[in-house]
Symmetry: C2
Subunit: 343 residues, 2 copies
DNA sequence: GTTAGCACTCCCATATTTTGAGTGCTGATA
DNA sequence: TATCAGCACTCAAAATATGGGAGTGCTAAC
């Protein structure tokens, strides 16, 4: 496949923008006029034809204008879309609003989700931090019946995680108490990930043979089964006011997408490797059964590790120029907040 | 307003059933034929006219058949609908399925929600137990920093509730430990409700002046702020396959309803006073802004107290004869399960 | 390579008609 | 007095026609 010429790029960019703005197939004649291209409609048609062969545009039917394909959007987002500058969009009030919100972490995430949704007028979505990467502050073990111990982890961000673990051997309250102390002092400051991959091994050697040894195994088991990532979604109603979305097929795939939280979490996870805003367009979201929806997402960090994901879901035909910087900005905001809260 | 005659009741019943089955306005001629009434269409029209004046039926337009109003459904559900017998519907497999599911309470509720949704082919909904009414098994207080104590409550159903509480005075670890023991032994077996209204007062006297006294106030504060009721909703996608629901107005009010979880929880709470299945038809759900949706719900118990609510949301035109016994049956199932698990 | 011109296509909005299922009313009947 | 046949009327929905507009593809000339 040959490369795209300069002029074709320019045309594609304008077509996508025009389509995003109006939602109507872009035809050669009116388009040339509106954007005062210095070429004739006929030439425009030729260019459009080429862009179609390249896979960037398509036809609803023979005598209709062109609309972008998913690939077209992808090219647009990757190479052609110049985002608005944050300062132009004045998101200052988000910051203010946000700072006024409660310190309780769950509520913070909820309000971030609502913000994303209300500013974008689409659906906001937040994946709460992966506990693996948040630093542990304190650990307690509490016996709740002869066969069960409750493991409580308090993270630096103030989140409390609890996990019931079954134990076979009987363990006295004293041992639990002393183990708690040991764990707290050994683990403090490290992330669950560090603990699992490194610290726990070292401790095995250090305490081998002691009473506390018994607990280490179960603690490891418990740590491995922690999976406390939640997903918040807000603004489903917004989606209903978008003509593109109330197409039955689109709506179905959207609702199916957000209902399968587990699946959705996995999709969001794919952003984890990257530090910048990621866009998933149409079938890119979930191999080919998602139609007409895009996800714009980015990570926020705790410390210097990517911890969770936030973003916006809406129609493929959304205004990426605005949504991308919004998601970007919100991501930084949350990162800042979390780094203050967790020190 | 005059009473409804025997014959009118019979006709209304058949009309509602016919409309539930077909979704099309019921006209006099074909209706008389199909149900082999021994009256002429003309007479039927007279009866329909009367039922309309009574507020049970309405007209989409002059020359269309009749459809039930919300009041019509209400009368039908209250007086005319003979539910199917559980045994006829063979919900045995629900029980089997259910018993195979995990003991983790959250997962149990999730799978109940999914069941309600998949059997009814509508949206299933479960409000998790109000912790106020579940018996406490154990209480722990753990210091997480100089100004904060973590209160951990383990209920008999195995649910772990935790609440951070701020304290002004410094409390030693030993005092927390001894208070934990005292609280556990004094509270065990009582519900949080009992504790708040009764036990706590008695303890104030008993321990007045002692070190542990300091903690009682904060514990009370914490208990008052516990609000851990969750809502599970499953099967939103089912809703999209129902022609009645994809009316824009209906869908909007449905989505708005389930998105406002807090509001929805309140609505579900209204069932709490009753031991039988409750039906909320259309505007009955939420004063007049809900259109076209009904909620069928009932309570499940822990011990002998109504603890939570489960049910089904779907179009006003749903088959109450099936949905009502389904909800009823599931309610009992959960009640049984919880009484086993919490002893 | 660019462009004017032209034939052709097809959606869409707007009427127009037809059909069928319905209603309300009236006057006769048992 | 309740029932009912009959009839005129209503209305939505489906089928059918019509014109216009915006588009395309292609070709031949610049």
């Amino acid at each position: 496949m040959r490369a795209v010429t300069e002029r074709e790029s320019e045309v594609l960019k304008s077509i996508v923008q025009e389509y995003i703005a109006t939602g109507r197939p872009v035809g050669s004649r009116s388009f040339v006029q509106k954007y005062s291209f210095s070429i004739s409609p006929a030439t425009m048609r030729n260019i459009m034809y080429d862009l179609e062969s390249l896979g960037f545009l398509t036809h609803p039917h023979t005598s209709a204008g062109r609309i972008p394909t998913d690939t077209g959007y992808r090219y647009f987002v990757d190479f052609l879309s110049d985002s608005y500058d944050i300062s132009d969009l004045d998101y200052g009030y988000i910051r203010d609003d946000f700072m006024r919100s409660e310190v309780h972490l769950d509520k913070m995430f909820m309000s971030i989700t609502k913000m994303l949704s209300s500013v974008s007028r689409l659906a906001g979505i937040v994946l709460t931090p992966n506990p693996d990467f948040t630093a542990v502050k304190q650990i307690e073990l509490v016996s709740i019946d002869p066969e069960t111990v409750l493991l409580i982890i308090v993270t630096r961000t103030g989140v409390v995680i609890n996990k019931k673990i079954a134990i076979s051997e009987r363990v006295t309250r004293d041992i639990l108490f002393s183990t708690s102390n040991i764990l707290s002092s050994e683990f403090a400051g490290f992330s669950i990930y560090d603990i699992k991959t490194d610290i726990l091994g070292k401790m095995r050697q250090k305490y081998s043979g002691s009473d506390e040894q018994i607990c280490l195994d179960v603690v490891e088991l418990a740590l491995n089964s922690i999976n406390e990532q939640d997903i918040f979604i807000e603004g489903i109603e917004n989606i209903l006011h978008i003509p593109d979305m109330i197409e039955k097929e689109v709506l179905t795939s959207f609702l199916r997408l957000i209902e399968e939280k587990k699946n959705l979490a996995e999709i969001m996870q794919r952003t984890m490797d990257s530090d910048s805003v990621q866009t998933f367009i149409g079938s890119e979201i979930d191999n080919s059964y998602v139609v007409g929806c895009s996800l714009v997402a980015c990570c926020y960090k705790i410390g210097n590790k990517n911890a969770g994901v936030l973003g916006v879901i809406g129609p493929t035909r959304m205004d990426y120029r605005k949504v991308v910087p919004l998601v970007d900005y919100t991501g930084r905001l949350v990162t800042n907040f979390l780094s203050n809260v967790s020190r």
